[in-house]
């Protein structure tokens, strides 16, 4: 790696002191005078017609400022009551019909949260229940109840402009890929492997639940403080819904208490904005944990895979993926598309067909979840890779290395693979788990096994990040960026990039938190895109400032600006450090004054070649790939089915690690989160009612679930266009956990489980079915 002064160094987080003292600002801490609190009445039914709502008694309750229904919003002049990033299919509050248990029906703003909740008790809603569809495969049957009779286009994102809903169907989006001649390859196959894998809906569980606050300021502008990963989107969508210019809305985001995809697009913002407009007072809405479960989920999936093998080569793969997007599409169609096209894996397979379907059901809406659907498809294809390797009697690591795509190879979409350290990730993960070391002899009722899995994700493309860098006359700088700091370390990382490019020290850079009045547009803080996209935008903005600075110095010293460099707040002639000046002196030379700034702007906007709608082919479907590999050792108890992960190695390609510490944290954190999803997390529904909607019943990984050996492996294959070669790594550790654990399970006890979570009960049933319980093998 080139010799950088601050890039690549494990500097501490800027926000650490605020966080260990507990004073870091969250939306929940904000209490403007006159604040009203919101409580919302939710549907008890998964599917019903709203016959009548009587809110008159609630309106008369003491302390109640406003009671709002979907019909009220629809009747407000100039307001569009529906929203959504892919389709405008979600009403702010239910209109005429409810489509999932927990859908928001009536909102109250009152002097206190308790007064609002008490007022809800006197709201009367009469429902007429409708037939319910819950299973994703039931929902695609021709006689299934239809969740949406009509689907309104959204227009929020240009890359989703082609998305059109089907007619009288619960399939709201279908992605299709056709490569080679699949039928012929299956006809000529020596062996065919056919498997169905499932993953259930699950929860993001950011420790900070959703919270938004709105007020109308003295100039009549709508101000929003919100725990959101997408402030730019919120502003644009609210402007559209409320029928006001974008500059009449100001969205600000302080530190987030975690996001993981849960806090994207519009969530609580429309309700607080409308209630603030209606009451003329500040309004805050904080979700309870129970309400979180009804707000957004991880897509449950059914993945059908069929693979043809001839000799030792995979010759064809057919993938059918059914995504349960719940009652509202949210960003489902994009997930179905972007993850759909990777669902045959990063392998050399000449003939492939993929059908990926986004399907409405009467469950809470599913949205983006750390990995954006890719963990679900890797769960399937890299479980099957193991099944095929074992079936052929080939070592699973060798089988992957043999079939893995390499630099310059074409991905299934026809897009070349570049800077993707897939093989290195697999090899280093395998080495870390001592793959070739013989197993310890079995004793008692416990058996040990090792598993590996790998996969790739393609970064969301196209997307846009803008940034502004302001250099002050004293040599300090401000970075204006809409990237949200939610624990990933973006604030510090962007400061590192700006400091490196400007040649000033890290502690001289301040990163301004998202504020749509001043920070430029950014698509989203998600999808492992900020390091690359916002990193590039900040670097370009800083480079533009530096050019102006160098010009000032070059003019004063009467030399060529191309001969200058900057370091430690000084600009000097390369190779002759004594010939130069400080930033302050350069400002004096340029302006004759210290009372000004140098401002640079930067933009990163990767583009794609649109995919052929029939074949799914594209010369460039993504800006970059990131590779993931997980290697685990597990111990399984034959008597109870309990699986314990003994060691975990999470390998991921970061391009260049701008800050190695943050990269390691992201790998370990994502793997830990997905260990929970692999072993025990699932939302359990009965007749459309969620049975485990609290953290007493829905468990996530605790400190006890993390193996003592939990090892991040940061692979670094620099990307030619990344800032200093960097790519993103926020999701990488999440991608391959489930398949690695299931593969280790089979290695340990010889049973294959195709449904996550891999609960003790499920493993026990599989052991029993295989006659392996009580050491009976």
């Amino acid at each position: 790696m080139a010799d950088y002064s601050i890039v690549g160094k494990p500097v501490d987080r800027r926000d650490a002191v605020q966080k260990v003292t507990g004073r870091a600002l969250h939306v929940g801490n904000m209490e403007p005078p006159g604040l009203l609190h919101v409580a919302v009445l939710r549907s008890p039914h998964p599917h019903a017609r709203i016959v009548r709502i009587d809110k008159s008694r609630a309106e008369a309750q003491p302390g109640v400022a406003a009671v709002l229904t979907g019909a009220d919003i629809a009747a407000m002049p100039g307001i569009t009551p529906y929203h959504g990033p892919a389709f405008a299919d979600q009403p702010v509050l239910a209109i005429d019909r409810v489509r999932h248990e927990g859908e928001q029906v009536v909102a109250v703003a009152a002097e206190s949260r308790r007064a609002a909740e008490e007022a809800l008790e006197s709201v009367e809603v009469a429902y007429e229940t409708l037939p319910v569809v819950l299973d994703v495969l039931d929902a695609i049957r021709p006689d299934a109840p239809i969740v949406h009779d009509e689907i309104r286009p959204s227009g929020a994102f240009a890359d989703l402009a082609h998305v059109k809903a089907g007619d009288r169907s619960n399939i709201c989006y279908h992605y299709k890929l056709r490569k080679g001649d699949v039928d012929k390859a299956f006809a000529e196959a020596d062996r065919i492997f056919e498997d169905v894998f499932t993953a259930p809906p699950a929860q993001h569980v950011p420790m900070e639940p959703h919270v938004s606050l709105a007020y109308v300021d003295e100039s009549g502008r709508i101000n929003i403080h919100t725990a959101s990963q997408s402030p730019s989107f919120v502003r644009g969508e609210l402007a559209r819904m409320l029928g006001v210019p974008m500059n009449r809305i100001r969205v600000r985001v302080p530190y987030l208490g975690g996001g993981y995809g849960a806090k994207l697009y519009n969530k609580l913002e429309p309700i607080v904005a409308i209630l603030a407009m209606k009451t003329g007072r500040p309004v805050k809405y904080s979700l309870s944990r129970e309400e979180e479960f009804q707000t957004v989920t991880k897509h449950g999936v059914v993945v059908k895979l069929k693979t043809a093998v001839r000799g030792s080569a995979m010759t064809a793969r057919k993938c059918e993926v059914y995504w349960d997007t719940g009652a509202f599409a949210e960003i489902g169609p994009r997930i179905v598309h972007k993850s759909g096209y990777t669902s045959s894996g990063p392998y050399k397979i000449p003939n492939v067909s993929i059908d990926s379907y986004c399907v409405y059901t009467n469950k809470p809406p599913a949205g983006p979840f750390r990995g954006f659907g890719v963990p679900q498809v890797i769960w399937a294809y890299d479980s099957q890779m193991d099944i095929v390797a074992r079936g052929l009697g080939v070592d699973p690591v060798e089988f992957r290395l043999e079939h893995a795509l390499e630099e310059g190879d074409l991905f299934v979409t026809g897009t070349p693979i570049h800077a993707c350290g897939l093989k290195e990730a697999v090899q280093r993960a395998a080495d870390a788990v001592e793959w070739d070391k013989p197993k310890e002899p079995a004793s008692g009722t416990k058996r040990r096994g090792k598993g590996i899995a790998c996969g790739v994700k393609a970064v969301l493309t196209p997307s846009i990040s803008g940034a502004i860098v302001i250099l002050n006359a004293d040599g300090s700088a401000n970075v204006l960026s809409s990237t949200v700091e939610m624990g990933q370390g973006s604030e510090s990382l962007l400061a590192q990039i700006a400091a490196e490019e400007l040649g000033i020290s890290f502690d001289k850079v301040h990163v301004v938190q998202p504020d749509t009045d001043v920070t430029p547009y950014d698509t989203i803080s998600a999808g492992s895109r900020s390091t690359y996209h916002m990193g590039n935008a900040v670097r370009t903005a800083a480079a533009n400032v530096k050019a102006e600075l160098f010009e000032a110095v070059a003019g004063k010293l009467e030399i060529d600006a191309a001969d200058l460099e900057a370091c430690d707040g000084r600009v000097f002639v390369r190779g002759a450090e004594e010939r130069g000046m400080t930033v302050t002196e350069a400002f004096l030379a340029r302006f004759g004054s210290l009372g000004t700034t140098m401002v640079g702007e930067g933009l990163c906007q990767p583009v794609v070649t649109p995919m052929d709608p029939e074949t799914g082919m594209s010369e460039k479907c993504t800006e970059y790939w990131f590779a993931s590999a997980s290697a685990v050792e597990v111990e399984v108890d034959l008597e109870t089915g309990r699986l314990e992960v003994l060691q975990f190695h999470a390998a991921g390609d970061a391009g260049t690690a701008i800050n190695p510490k943050y990269c390691e944290q992201q790998l370990v954190g994502a793997a830990t989160m997905h260990l929970g999803l692999t072993l025990f997390e699932q939302m359990v529904f009965q007749d459309g009612q969620l049975l485990n909607g609290s953290l007493l019943d829905y468990q996530i990984a605790s400190i006890k679930d993390v193996p003592a050996a939990c090892n991040p492996i940061v692979v670094q294959v620099p990307h030619k266009d990344g800032p200093f070669g960097a790519k993103g790594i926020g999701e990488t550790g999440a991608l391959t956990v489930a398949a690695a654990v299931a593969n280790a399970l089979e290695d340990a006890v010889g049973v294959r489980v195709r449904d996550i979570p891999l609960t003790a009960e499920r493993i026990y049933e599989a052991l029993k079915a295989a006659g392996k319980v009580n050491g009976s093998e």
Binding site: D12, R13, D15, A16, V17, Q18, K19, V20, T21, G22, R23, A24, H26, G28, N29, R114, H204, V205, P206, M207, E208, P209, Y255, L256, G257, G258, Y260, S286, S288, R289, E290, M486, G487, Q488, G489, K661, Q665, V668, G669, A670, A671, T672, M673, S694, L695, L696, I700, A701, S702, I703, K704, V706, A708, C710
Partner: protein
Amino acid sequence: MERNISLTVNGEQHELQVNDADTLLEVLRDSLKLWSVRESCGVGACGSCTVLLDGRPVSACFLLAARQDSRTVETVEGLGSDDALHPIQQAFLENDAAQCGYCTPGFIMAAKALLEEHGDPSDDQIREYLSGNLCRCGGYPNIMRAVRAAAARMGGG
């Protein structure tokens, strides 16, 4: 029903009027503006609102304030200042144990209770003691390191 209680919070005595339905968390946040005490699960299952009540770690979301009359509460606001962080805060900072930071105050208070009970805890004791605190960023290995470092710094080891 409203009633008056006396609470000693971070060394300072407060006379407070509380409703019978108010949780300790609501009183600490709404009346005393102790923003480090954070609600997350609301059912005492995640540890985000961990405070020390007469020295013992409790979930403030799951206790009624009216029942805590005459008791002593400690929150992270009472630990250290920027210039003089408490050794546990310093250890969390140096070991990168805070990512999004929402759970951090709860972990720090639970760790304080642990280290007061076991000056030199084993890894199993740390895991057991902190298993009621959840971190969705998955920062557990660094939190383990931070607690070990704090124990050493506080002279237990």
